[in-house]
Amino acid sequence: MNPRNPGDRRHPLKVALSVGRIQRVDFVAGARAIGPLSPGSFMFGAAFGALIQVGGFNSWVGMSGSVLVMAGASQIAVVESLRIAAPIAVAVLTALVINARFALYSAALAPSYSAFPRRWKLALAYLMTDQAAAIALQHADRYPDPVRRRWFNFGAALSFTLAWYAGTAAGIVLGPIIPPSWQLGFIVPLMFIALVVPTLKHRSEIVAAFVAIAATLLLKDLPLGLNVILGALTGIGVARLVR
């Protein structure tokens, strides 16, 4: 393995004409690294697509959600908020609270991305997911060369995102075929359980989760779905106070 990869500099024409072999290898390695998680991305996407249909929303608008927001938990929160007739501001705010965790990933990835060209940073930021960020952080040391590292990250993040798009489309298409007696709505709590429970490690995280649950339930009579945002913020606040 040659970490410097000088071939890129010596043959700029060749690089411009086609993506180099090493870049392709690194791209595939990234896709492989995230591979075991990609079926989950497809299934989660399909669940979101089905939810769009169950909620009676427009299919194209549903698909646009997966392209524009590209963060499943928050997309479902937006759909759920509007389904219970919450104002748009509450729907968007709930989504942003849920996605605030990306700020942490973004900060954590900054040193690894600092050598990337600007357009790569902008593209990889769009493709950032919980899973792609985790893979990028785990493998950063194995790719000291920034060119190889960015192709590895690109392969992981893009393949995971494409699975998300494909899953959403499949869910939207198959949604209407599914009878209401299947109670598809169960997908919402199930996906969030699958997403959050395996990641709970530190005591403060567990405290935050349990306090958030208790507060959300205690505030259940608040209008506009505000109990979710306030429940989450209460969980964060209390967990920060507890040592």
Binding site: I76, I88, A95, A103, S106, G231
Partner: protein, 104 residues
Amino acid sequence: MMLFIAFVLAGIGTYLIRISGITLLGGDRELPESVTKTLRLVGPAALAAIVANALLLDGGEWRGFSAWHVAAMVAIVVAIWKKSMGWSLVSGAVSFAALLLLGM
């Protein structure tokens, strides 16, 4: 249309969050520890709040005991045991389907 506008706004906001650290923190600078600690709690708290609202409540009222609770319990136990998103999803979905078929 409301949903599309909400997606556009949430999309813009989410992209700004995603790009924040990558562009603002050029290289070696790090966030203060208090900020990092708070951000680390955002995911667990926000996701747990959604679970509580979608599982234990139904449109602001308590959800009656049903296959939802049992299958969710299965998914939680498997998630803790296997430490895996995939297995948790599969076990929850399979047990939910089985309970519905059994008429619960």
